[in-house]
């Protein structure tokens, strides 16, 4: 697949950066001319991934969160969220709805939501090394996309 555009963002795992991550990703995705619903899905998915890094990867310290965004031919947005944190010992268990190690304030629905709000979710993780979450979402081509023609 041809890569049409890409950006990388790195920031510390402070919860105040969650809103920044959502805004940065939706600003990059805007060139695909997504609908409001699609932007909502993208913001929700990235919010879950970044929150996981803050809550689970770096529970007792501030570490770096790396985001790479790419646009592939065919209107596909790829979001990669990587950390060098604790890692996930059992990915299948972590993906189970309502399972959480985060206590009362967490719902255990993060991966379920990432999965249902995007088209494709891949998780790679190694305890003590870190976790890498890759999500892909196809953005609908809108008929009469004048704005898209102007961009190309």
């Amino acid at each position: 697949m041809n890569i049409l555009n890409e950006v990388s963002i790195t920031f510390p795992s402070r919860s105040s950066n969650e809103g920044y991550a959502r805004a940065a990703v939706s600003a990059f995705a805007a060139q695909l001319d997504p609908t409001l619903d699609e932007i909502g899905d993208i913001k929700t998915a990235i919010s879950e991934a970044v929150t996981n890094c803050i809550v689970h990867a770096y529970p007792e310290c501030v570490g770096k969160i790396y985001i790479r965004l790419r646009i592939f031919e065919g209107n596909i947005l790829e979001i990669v969220v990587r950390d060098r944190g604790k890692g996930i010992p059992d990915i299948a268990q972590a993906k189970t709805p309502m399972f959480t190690t985060g206590g009362e304030d967490r719902s255990g629905m993060g991966f379920t939501i990432m999965e249902s709000f995007t088209d494709n979710l891949k998780i790679r993780s190694k305890p003590g090394v870190g976790t890498c979450v890759t999500m892909r979402k196809k953005i609908s081509m809108r008929i009469g996309g004048l704005s898209r023609e102007r961009h190309s």
Partner: protein
């Protein structure tokens, strides 16, 4: 995130305003618990009209408030959710159990 509360007879309406993520929920969850404990409502209503974004942190907040309200025999409902927030609640399958009202399809918001 800002939290406003209003009491009318036994009805405690808690209105949230802003983006409800993990950062916001850390303060909002204890604040809502405190309101329930001090007001001891007969009916608890969470108003999401001014919640501009919500992720799974909102699920934990709603479940927590639902449990606390149920423990004192209060009814519970969530009103005025956006399409985005409702989709998150729906992914967790809690809309019916927790009386989360479906967004009005006719009203155009955002």
């Amino acid at each position: 995130m800002k939290i406003y509360s209003e009491r009318d007879n036994g009805v405690l309406t808690v209105s949230l305003s802003g983006e409800l993520d993990h950062h916001a929920a850390r303060n909002a969850i204890p604040e809502i618990s405190r309101l329930i404990d001090t007001e001891l409502p007969v009916n608890l209503v969470l108003n999401f009209e001014r919640v501009s974004f919500m992720d799974s942190s909102g699920i934990a907040l709603v479940i927590g408030a639902y449990k606390r309200a149920s423990s004192i025999g209060s009814t519970f409902s969530v009103i005025n959710t956006s399409k985005q927030a409702y989709k998150v609640f729906n992914a967790a399958g809690i809309c019916k159990i927790m009386n989360i009202k479906e967004p009005d399809a006719i009203t155009v918001k955002n």
